[in-house]
Subunit: 462 residues, 2 copies
């Protein structure tokens, strides 16, 4: 349904209802700012006015404004309302170098999803790049096997067996540009095989669900309870997308009985489990949870990524495929590789030289210190906030009093603290569970700004 | 139509007729070898026997065999027939490093499409990588703008204006992983706008046409004559894919009158020209032909790539979009970038430091020397072969006596010389023109093997 926001001449293409409404409004406003249709400095109508204009709930507009303030597209100050942020626009072809057109970043970013980019091991990476590039055969620089560089697939097969209990050989490893890319390829292959439904968790990333939807699949959510995702009723699903080691964003591992149950479901029905192991490297208080793939390499696709362990900018992720899917999924990717051969060679060298293990160990210590500091600070300053999902990963879930999530996210964004509420990650078709919470990514702030960020976060708590 | 090749238990999914039949057969055989269904050493039936089994022309089978010998999947020796090549298969998780599973490469590779990979400026690239990575802000390593790194878009906007007469600013540059990726995005956007037909040239790359077809467009070919591609009758096409600076593979520039004519067509009809400027850097005997985009930046999309000027393994290409398409095409790419941030930062530094210009100049001299040596050698040893398309680029077209193309390609492949005949690049719906020719890529052989490769090529001439 396209609605026209007559006051500002902005067309908003909105779904009529549901959680997608907020996302649609946010996207439309962001796009209007990004393309300049809403000029820097423009004062936006109050959330009450716009909500009335559009015939939608005021909270939906307020949430969208808060998201865009957090992202830096809008600014909000008490007294002067919400405005389009002033930005530095690059002159065309400016000879003096890049002109940033990115929006202002928030002062403190606790949105989950990225590691501490300041800790990217630049010097070690450059050393590995030098060794890898000087040793590479010429043909490694040409059009490559769509599966990815053999050096990297070999290094990953070895590493994943050792660190995550994955059972594979290099021929069944397929490189992709991110887990979303991998899911799109898998969705395409499954759809071509006649699968119509891939069940997903009640909480997760719509960027991932959308890849499956884009491939033509339905993605109904399955319930979440104290033991994690509950696979009791998978209906006619031909596939199931899971984060078994560390549910995203709830932070719990899939219960042992359920690990067995999903594998049995897959064997009984011929279904496929898509195991998103996005942060399998980071465990603190307990034994690592091995990959589900190790239980049945014929029925589980393992997906991993360098985006959390190193940096999203590498655009390197990997799938480990059952033999029956390997050739088809590689063919879905295309006739040639799409990922940088140089980065792949470098990552292979980084892994085989031991630098990757050292980096992961150092990162684990850093994140664990941050997590402990987060717990200590919140215990002292926000004792009513209950914290869960902290045994692993780069984020924690902060349970809030019912009905307060929206106002905490909004008030934090006004204080320069970017946060996502749990509702941001709730599947639009999931049954309401009345949970109010924040998903706090403690990986993102740089070490240098960590103390200040933590103080700002505590101030934003109810 | 699926045909079963009972003798070897291999299912061949073949189209019933037309030029796609050969490609389908080649792909099916390659896949059977790659996956091990046809074991190393297996002797294949004679082309006559297989052709009779499948009910197709013997030449089609012979062509497919020749292609796969050239690629190294099969071996062929007079007396012992055609066999599946012996290959070194990597042990799973071999600790000793990568185990090559690639097929044997042909002794001499004259298939066009890749530059001399031995000339990739490894040391200079590593220096640029070091400067770029050490200078990059932390956020450059995160999830990036789908358009690509601003540093690179700025460097490219400047370079393309200077070197190719492209009119743009960094905001309208969109990075992609190759020209094929760019065409897929453009095809998707055009289809969403209601375009149904994108006309293409009679000769070109099916990997490119297939991207447009995959986006839902028809791709009828338009005629080719002495003045290059003839755009007199574009029917109801909403877009036109062209290689105006250096027709691929015919090697001629689009005639001046036709450059004007296609831009007039685009203005008159609202059509869009997709300008594939794949090797715009390499001109030898004449003034460079500027980009068509410079004539009308609102009606021409410019596509360029690092695959010819540096290396395909970088997976870096770029589009310059009309303002009206820029946001939509970026959105088609996704919410985040898919190309390596590190390589993008490095290429930006490589360009702005002047290393790119130096590398292109040095490459131009090297390729020009090769071209001259090719002309001299062929004039002496194959005086009946007429050579065209040599004023630019990395390949030449060698006209052959009518009816000889197939046998020359096949006999060359038996001698370890990989070649493509002109028919390999002919659009399946193009009107027959009776041309027999070879498309000889002289960029690929390394300098160290150039003399031997040239001698082998001359021996393979009729």
């Amino acid at each position: 349904m396209a609605k026209s926001w007559a006051t500002l001449g902005v067309d908003l293409h909105l779904e009529p209802a549901g959680p997608h409404l907020r996302r649609g409004l946010t996207d439309a406003l962001r796009e209007a700012v990004r393309t300049g249709r809403l000029a820097p400095g423009t004062r936006l109508p109050s959330s009450r006015t716009l909500a009335a204009d559009l015939g939608i709930a005021r909270n939906t507009v307020a949430d969208a404004y808060a998201d865009l303030v957090a992202e830096g597209w809008l600014t909000a100050r008490q007294g002067s309302g919400t405005r389009v942020a002033e930005r530095t626009v690059a002159a065309p072809s400016a000879p003096g170098g890049p002109g940033p057109r990115a929006p202002h970043r928030p002062a403190h970013d606790f949105r989950p999803g990225a590691p501490d980019l300041a800790a990217f091991p630049r010097a070690e990476w450059l050393k590995a790049a030098r060794r890898a590039l000087l040793a590479a055969p010429n043909h490694a620089l040409g059009y490559g096997d769509p599966r990815g560089r053999i050096e990297l697939r070999t290094a990953l097969a070895d590493y994943l067996a050792r660190a995550r209990g994955v059972r594979t050989d290099p021929d069944r490893v397929l490189m992709c540009s991110g887990i979303a890319h991998g899911l799109r390829l898998l969705g395409t292959v499954l759809r071509a095989r006649g699968v119509r439904t891939a069940a997903v968790e009640s909480y997760g990333l719509d960027a991932h669900w959308n890849q499956l939807v884009g491939a033509g699949l339905r993605t109904p959510p399955i319930p979440f309870d104290d033991r994690g995702t509950n696979p009791a009723d998978l209906g006619d699903a031909g596939a199931l997308l899971l984060t078994p080691a560390h549910q995203f964003p709830m932070g719990v591992p899939l219960h042992r009985a359920r690990r067995t149950a999903v594998v049995e479901w897959a064997r009984r029905t011929g279904g496929l489990i898509l195991e998103d192991d996005y942060d399998g490297e980071f465990r603190y208080d307990r034994q690592p949870v091995g990959a589900l793939q190790g239980l049945d390499p014929d029925r589980v696709v393992y997906l991993g990524t360098a985006s959390k362990s190193l940096a999203p900018g590498l655009r390197l992720a990997w799938m480990v495929l059952p033999p029956s899917l390997a050739a088809e999924t590689a063919a879905a990717k295309g006739k040639v590789d799409t990922s940088s051969a140089l980065d792949q060679l470098t990552l292979a060298e980084f892994i085989t030289s031991g630098a990757y293990d050292r980096h992961v160990r150092a990162s684990r210590l850093r994140y664990r210190r941050r997590r402990d500091a987060l717990l200590t600070a919140l215990a002292a300053q926000a004792p009513d906030v209950h914290i869960t999902g902290i045994a692993a990963g780069l984020h924690a879930v902060l349970r809030l009093p019912p009905g307060t999530e929206h106002s905490v996210v909004q008030s934090a964004s006004w204080q320069g603290v970017a946060l996502h509420g749990l509702s941001y990650f709730r599947h639009p078709e999931a049954a309401p569970d009345g949970l109010d919470a924040l998903v706090v990514g403690y990986g993102t702030p740089p070490d240098s700004g960590w103390t200040g960020a933590l103080e700002a976060l505590c101030r934003a708590m109810p």
